[in-house]
C-alpha cells in the first residue's frame, strides 16, 4: 500500500476488493445516519419553492400542459448516493495515506457543489420533459440524472484518485516501447 505501483497490478486490485468489503459497509452506515440532515440542508441550499422534501422523498413541483401543478416524487438516493460511494472507493483505493487524505479533501467540496447542481438539474430537466414528446437532450439528460448518484460517485472518485491510481497504467498503455499490442490514441 505504501509503494506507488509503476502500473496497476493484480495485487492492487485484490487489495482494493478486500478493502471495499470493509469500507463500503462503513460508508453506507455513515450515509444512512447523515442523509436525513444533508437532504434538508441541500433542499434549503437550492432555495426553490419547486423542490421540497416529504416522507424522505424529493418532491418536484411543475406545471402540466393543462396548467395544473403536478408533484413528482423521487427517491433522493438517485442523486445523493455519491456520498456513500465516494468515501468507500477512496478508502479502498490502493494509494498512500497522504494521497488518500488529499483525495478526500478534494472530493468533499466537489460533492457538495455537485449535489446542489444535480438536484437543480433534476428540477430543470423535469420541467423540460413536460408531459411527454420532449426533445432528445432532456430525455438523454433524464436517463443520466436518474442514476447520477452512482455515476457521479464513480466519476468523482476516479477524478480525485484516478491520476494517482491509473496515471502510470494509462501512460504505459500509451507507450509503444516493447509492447506490440499497444497503440496511441
Amino acid at each position: 500500500m505504501n509503494v506507488r505501483p509503476e502500473v496497476l497490478r493484480r495485487r492492487d486490485v485484490a487489495k482494493f476488493a478486500a478493502a471495499l468489503v470493509v469500507s463500503l459497509p462503513i460508508s453506507l452506515a455513515m450515509y444512512a445516519l447523515c442523509i436525513p440532515y444533508y437532504e434538508r440542508a441541500l433542499v434549503a441550499g437550492i432555495g426553490s419553492s419547486s423542490v421540497d422534501l416529504a416522507d424522505g422523498e424529493v418532491v418536484v413541483s411543475r406545471p402540466s400542459s393543462g396548467g395544473v401543478v403536478v408533484h413528482d416524487r423521487y427517491d433522493p438516493h438517485i442523486v445523493l448516493l455519491n456520498l456513500a460511494i465516494v468515501p468507500a472507493l477512496i478508502l479502498a483505493f490502493p494509494v498512500r495515506g497522504q494521497e488518500r487524505l488529499r483525495a478526500v479533501l478534494l472530493a468533499v467540496p466537489v460533492l457538495l457543489v455537485l449535489d446542489v447542481a444535480l438536484l437543480a438539474l433534476v428540477l430543470r430537466t423535469r420541467w423540460a420533459l413536460g408531459d411527454g414528446h420532449a426533445p432528445i437532450l432532456p430525455v438523454a439528460a433524464w436517463g443520466v440524472l436518474m442514476t447520477s448518484g452512482q455515476t457521479t460517485g464513480v466519476l468523482v472518485s476516479a477524478f480525485v484518485a484516478g491520476r494517482i491510481l491509473l496515471g502510470r497504467s494509462i501512460a504505459a498503455g500509451l507507450s509503444k516501447q516493447g509492447r506490440p499490442c499497444s497503440r496511441t490514441l
Binding site: 460511494i85 436517463g143 472518485s157 491509473l166
Partner: protein
Amino acid sequence: MRFAKFWGLFIALFLASHALLAWLGQPAWRALDQWTAHLTAGSLRLLGVAARAEESVVWSDWMSLRIIRGCTGVHQMILYVAGVAAFPAAWLRRLTGCLGGVLALTCLTQVRLVSLCFVAKFWPVHFQFVHMVVWQSLMAVMTILFWLTWVVAAGHERAA
C-alpha cells in the same frame, strides 16, 4: 496530458452512449426491460421459485417486481464500456473486455434482482434501503472493480 485525453474520450463516449439510448427511445427501453424481466423470472425458477414474466413485470409467489430502465444494469454497462473503450489498449482487447464486462454486469444485475426478491420476502422492512442504497452502491463499485480487473489483465497481456 495522456490522462486528460483518456478522461476526455471517456466522458465523450459516456455521454454519446446516453444520447444513443435516449434516441433509441421507448421501444428499445421496453425491450430491455422485458428481456431483463424474462431473465429474472428464469433465474428465480432456477432457484425453485415459481415465477413468470409478463412484459416488464416479474410475477412470483413472493412478490411482483416491475423492471424499469435503472434495473437493467444498462447505466453501469455504459459506464464500463466507455471506460474500456477509452483506455489505451488493442482494439481486440477492448472488444473482448466490453463483452466480458457486459456479461459480468448482466449476471450481477440478476444477482441483484433475485436477491431483492428474497429481501422482499424475508425482510420487507429493509427492501427500500437494500434496493436504493445497498445494491446501487454495490453496482457502482463492482463496475469499477470489473474495469480495474480488465485494466490489469490488459496490462499483463501487453507485457507478455
